[in-house]
């Protein structure tokens, strides 16, 4: 429960953070620290330098930009949870943020940290996937955007390279129904399985903790978008998906849960 020794630098701006990252081969950004520090304490991560961007207020905002809402990467879960803009235009996102961990976690953790961490068991990555959000990434060579569908690459691996900072998440407004079903054993726990449904014209369904990244339930999506019944679509929830087995659930049980939760989420989003 003690991390290895590391250096600590607090960056005064995004540009400064980028230049420090560029000058090191294993420096890491720290935002809320609520994913990185547990890994460091278990000595599963041992970066030589931490670049603290946690207090960069330039990246802490939630803005209505007409057809979408722009969220600064350093916006805390708690701010998402209580944002009037989100509650009005993307209610699923403030709802999901309120389901993350416990109040202490929600006051420290940031949306950018959660997405950059890219954990398939996290709530917000699956939500932005179902929302078809766009990630804005900045580096020394400028800014690029990446759709959520291309952002999550593998176990704790995203499209971000060393020297890149996730600065903003652009989330399309939601006019139709939505639902988020998080199944866990204790209120503060990670999802054993989670399901996000967004009906914005077509229906998008994403899954939490069904693989090494957040996943789309493509078979269910296709079925429902082609007019299948909710029941039929839900039965396809884990088609083509190979969920993990762990202490809380076997792969078989996860598949079963995914079907139950997709059905319940689709019913709720259609009500």
């Amino acid at each position: 429960m003690f991390p290895s020794t590391f250096d600590y630098v607090r960056a005064g701006s995004v540009a400064e953070a980028i230049s420090i990252l560029d000058g090191s081969d294993d420096a890491k950004l720290i935002a809320g620290g609520h994913s990185l520090l547990p890994l460091m304490k278990l000595r599963l991560a041992a970066p030589s330098t931490l670049v603290d961007i946690g207090r960069l207020s330039e990246l802490n905002y939630i803005e209505d930009r007409g057809d979408h809402v722009a969220i600064g990467a350093l916006t805390r879960h708690r701010d998402l949870e209580t944002s009037a803009v989100l509650k009005h235009s993307v209610p699923i996102l403030s709802h999901v943020a309120g389901e993350v961990g416990d109040p202490a976690v929600r006051h420290r953790g940031t949306i950018g940290g959660s997405i950059a961490h890219g954990d398939g068991a996290s709530d917000l990555p699956a939500a932005v996937l179902a929302l078809d959000a766009t990630m804005v990434v900045r580096s020394a060579s400028g800014e690029r955007t990446v759709p959520a569908a291309n952002f999550f690459k593998g176990f704790l691996e995203t499209d971000l390279g060393q020297g890149e900072v996730l600065t903003e998440i652009r989330v399309p407004k939601v006019s139709g129904g939505w639902a988020y079903k998080k199944f866990n054993r204790r209120a503060q726990d990670w999802a054993i399985v989670g399901v996000a449904v967004v009906r914005n014209g077509s229906t998008r369904i994403s899954l939490v903790n069904m693989g090494s990244t957040p996943l789309r339930a493509s078979a269910s999506e296709n079925a429902i978008n082609q007019g299948a019944s909710i029941e039929e679509a839900a039965n396809l929830a884990s088609e083509g998906i190979d969920p993990p087995s762990d202490l809380n659930a076997s792969a078989e049980y996860r598949r079963h849960l995914a079907s139950v939760l997709v059905r319940r989420a689709l019913q709720e989003a259609s009500a």
């Binding site: 429960m1 003690f2 020794t5 199944f183 054993r185 204790r186 209120a187 726990d189 202490l247 809380n248």
Partner: protein
């Protein structure tokens, strides 16, 4: 929720007095062992085995020794002359019990993941922890023994020097023929097999120890996060080889124990031995994931229980066969834990024939030992689950089967077939009160409605009626069980010259609220303000004698000792007052701190004046010693037997298997009630801990013997969010065994709640043919049981 209540005739006892401990704890004024600022202390860190079973082929500490800040690194070979003997086990339950030698560091072989292999001392905690990574250990791995029945088969023996994995077999079979006969003649029998999973006690404060050598004289002060400073002092003296006169053990504020700090641990022995070796203070604080492997585990049993019953469902015999998991070694009272339940497998029922056998085996896992309830939760679980199974067989309700079998009130004091004398009880009254409060008829109607409507959320109602033996215990009874100590408790009450009162107790609170409760006992007797009373404890220099705190014993034994000491002080004060007023003692009344002459209340002599007289000794009755002080060591004549009805209501989601506890009601009878607020706190925490075993917690191992639930993210300690508001009630049947008429409440909730919840789950699903689900009843387990039952 009960409202303000008062035990009849008393002023302080029975009041909801706020805990005087809490302001200190809440403001951080209270100091825990790790908070102590000891200049120059060396920080200790222990390298732990990463494999469950292996011979150590090499240990290379050279790189670790040369790291910055490191003062010393030692292995078993370096320290084998630094202690006087192996780690203590104080409860050799049978004459032929096998107890493999167990040292603070592994001697050539590791026997569980977490076993100590080497120790580092450094100038900072981080330097010590970093140095651990630089130690190279070569292991020749052996197959681990993880399963209890596999261990019993002895095909792979862990401790070759004892030649078997069986530590002991312990039997309590007063009349085997009668038991066999009862089974032969039974109209109904049930035969159940239950698994008590291993649990990680998870006290909020992990263990910690700080040893400070005195600047001269060869004395040591040992600060430890322990429940048992007195036992620890004796055991450290013997194990390390330091005169008991040179040891002072202090338990500062201690953040919970639940039995896990009722022990003598390798780190305590190491810290003292190394402080002596290096003549420096040595300190160690356990890390949270270290706590999961290096502090004892609880439970860990396979229970086979059989009941024989006549045509009316009246139970005629109970036969129990246990296999108990000792873990890799015997810790302080490891072998005795199953015995603490051995006498209680008939529960609250009048069962004439009794048979109990326990075989205890070693495994390549963390040693087990006392965990809240210790033996009694296991016994209650087995009998209360089996009674429900019997009810289903006989075709009567869980309520009816219990009513037919209760020990009748007129049989108290009750001589049990297992050989105990139950002090007092009125089970039916307690049960009827619980059933009334619960509104059973509506619940049963709602349950049926949901089944009929094909609801996917089924309701289950589970009953558990528990009895436990606590107030451990008459010393002679402990002797007959081969326990290595007595069961008395010591108390001193002294009224100082300024009439402030010091109460010295041998109990060692670690969250229970003894300072509040003990001062209430004294205030009640003396009629003085609570604020004038100070309770001193947990420091062997201040309270040299004591048996410490565990087994719900502190109030029944320690509280009684205080009550008696207070009486003696008051008697002495009365003699002084009578002398001063020149009347006979019988002519004096006493109330609110003042003696008055019967019939002439204006002739008065305050207790405060008696205290000053006793101190100045200017005018005491002839032959009276100065000072107003009494010391008592009180040995109880019997155990106490608290009991109560606990009822759980669960909702089971048949699609996901998730169980929600929606109501929980406890009607406890702990005898006279000193402070209902403290009682309720104990019951609440106890229920949560028992529910945790039923629904959430399990020390899970992989096939290599690694504990895979070694963080609080994986080991599911529930929080308030998972629990309903508990509904509490009480009945009061005073115990005749002690002057306070109290019984004990520290473990009741834990003992009762696990079977209540499991019975409720089975009740929700029994119409599907489901009779048992293993604990914890995780969603997946419940879902699998439902899938298997509905597929049939």
């Amino acid at each position: 929720m009960t409202t303000t209540e008062t035990t009849s005739g008393s002023k302080v006892l029975g009041q909801r007095v706020l805990r005087r401990e809490d302001p200190k704890l809440l403001t951080g004024e209270a100091k825990f062992s790790d908070d102590l600022d000891i200049p120059g202390a060396l920080h200790m860190a222990v390298l732990r085995s990463t494999v469950a079973h292996a011979r150590i082929t090499s240990i290379d500490t050279s790189a670790a020794k040369s790291r910055p800040g490191v003062v010393a690194v030692y292995t078993y070979d370096d320290l084998k002359d630094d202690w006087a003997g192996p780690m203590p086990c104080a409860w050799p339950v049978t004459a032929d019990m096998k107890n493999p030698a167990h040292f603070p560091l592994a001697n050539g072989k590791v026997n569980y993941v977490g076993d100590g292999v080497a120790v580092v001392l450094a100038h900072s905690k981080t330097a010590a922890v970093d140095a651990l990574e630089a130690i190279e250990v070569g292991y020749e791995e052996l197959d681990p023994v993880l399963d209890l029945e596999e261990s019993l088969a002895d095909s792979n023996v862990i401790h070759s020097e004892i030649g078997t994995n069986l530590s002991y077999t312990w039997e309590l079979i007063p009349n085997k023929e009668a038991v066999d006969d009862a089974f032969a003649k039974a109209a109904y029998t049930v035969s159940e097999r239950y698994i008590q999973q291993r649990l990680v006690p998870s006290a909020m404060e992990p263990r910690a120890v700080v040893v400070v050598p005195a600047p001269f004289g060869g004395d040591y002060t040992v600060y430890s996060a322990t429940q048992v400073p007195h036992i620890l002092k004796v055991m450290l003296a013997l194990t390390v080889g330091v005169s008991e006169t040179k040891l002072r053990v202090v338990a500062p504020s201690v953040g919970g124990g639940f039995g896990s700090k009722l022990n003598v641990y390798a780190e305590e022995v190491l810290a003292l031995a190394l402080a002596r070796k290096l003549r420096r203070p040595v300190r160690w604080t356990e890390e949270r994931s270290e706590n999961a492997v290096a502090t004892i585990h609880g439970r860990g049993q396979i229970q086979n229980i059989e009941l024989a019953a006549d045509a009316d469902g009246k139970v005629t015999a109970v036969r129990v066969n246990l296999v108990a998991d000792m873990g890799a070694y015997l810790q302080l009272v490891t072998p005795g834990i199953p015995l603490l339940g051995a006498f209680l497998y008939h529960g609250v029922y009048d069962i004439p024939n009794y048979s109990f056998t326990c075989r205890s085996v070693f495994t390549n896992k963390t040693p087990t030992d006392a965990y809240r309830g210790a033996g009694r939760p296991e016994a209650t679980y087995a009998i209360e689950r089996a009674m429900d199974a019997l009810a289903r067989k006989v075709g009567v309700s869980a309520v009816e089967i219990r009513k037919r079998n209760f020990i009748p009130t007129e049989k108290f004091p009750y001589n049990s077939a297992a050989g105990l004398v139950f002090d007092s009880g009125d089970y039916l009254t307690n049960f009827n009160k619980a059933l009334d409060m619960m509104g059973m008829d509506e619940l049963l109607a709602e349950k049926k409605l949901r089944i009929d409507a094909g609801s996917r959320k089924l309701l289950g109602i589970g009953i558990s009626f528990f009895v436990e033996m606590c107030g451990l215990a008459p010393s002679r009874v402990l002797a007959s069980l081969n326990y290595g100590a007595g069961g008395w408790e010591a108390a001193t009450v002294r009224i100082l010259p300024t009439s402030k009162i010091q109460v010295v107790t041998g109990t060692a609170p670690h969250g229970q609220g003894h300072e509040t409760a003990w001062s209430m006992i004294v205030a009640e007797k003396l009629g003085v303000p609570l604020a004038d009373i100070e309770v001193l404890h947990s420091d062997t220099a201040i309270a040299p004698y004591g048996m410490d705190t565990y087994g719900s014993r502190s109030l029944a034994v320690g509280g009684s000792a205080i009550h008696i000491a207070t009486e003696r002080v008051l008697d002495k004060a009365k003699a002084i007052a009578a002398h001063q007023l020149e009347v006979a003692e019988e002519d004096l009344d006493y109330a609110e701190g003042v003696f008055t002459v019967k019939g002439s209340p204006d002739r008065a002599f305050p207790l405060a004046a008696a205290a000053l007289e006793a101190f100045t000794a200017h005018n005491l009755p002839d032959g009276m010693e100065p000072n107003l002080e009494a010391s008592v060591s009180w040995d109880p004549p019997n155990f106490t037997f608290p009991y109560g009805s606990h009822i759980a209501v669960v909702e089971v989601d048949t699609e996901t298997g998730k169980v929600d506890l929606v109501r929980y009601q406890a009607v406890d009878d702990c005898g006279n009630r000193v402070n209902p607020l403290i009682i309720e706190g104990q019951v609440h925490g106890g229920i949560a801990q028992g529910v945790a075993q039923a629904l959430f917690e399990e020390a899970s191992y992989d096939s290599a013997g690694n504990l895979i639930s070694a963080t609080l993210a994986d080991y599911l300690v529930p929080s308030a969010a998972e629990l309903p508001s508990f509904e509490l009630g009480e009945t009061v049947t005073p115990s005749p065994t002690n002057p306070l008429g109290v019984k004990g409440i520290g473990e009741a909730g834990t003992i009762a709640s696990t079977p209540a919840v499991m019975n409720a789950i089975v009740d929700a699903l029994s119409h599907l043919g489901i009779e048992n689900i293993e604990m914890p009843a995780s969603p997946e387990r419940v879902w699998r049981a439902i899938s298997a039952a509905t597929r049939k």
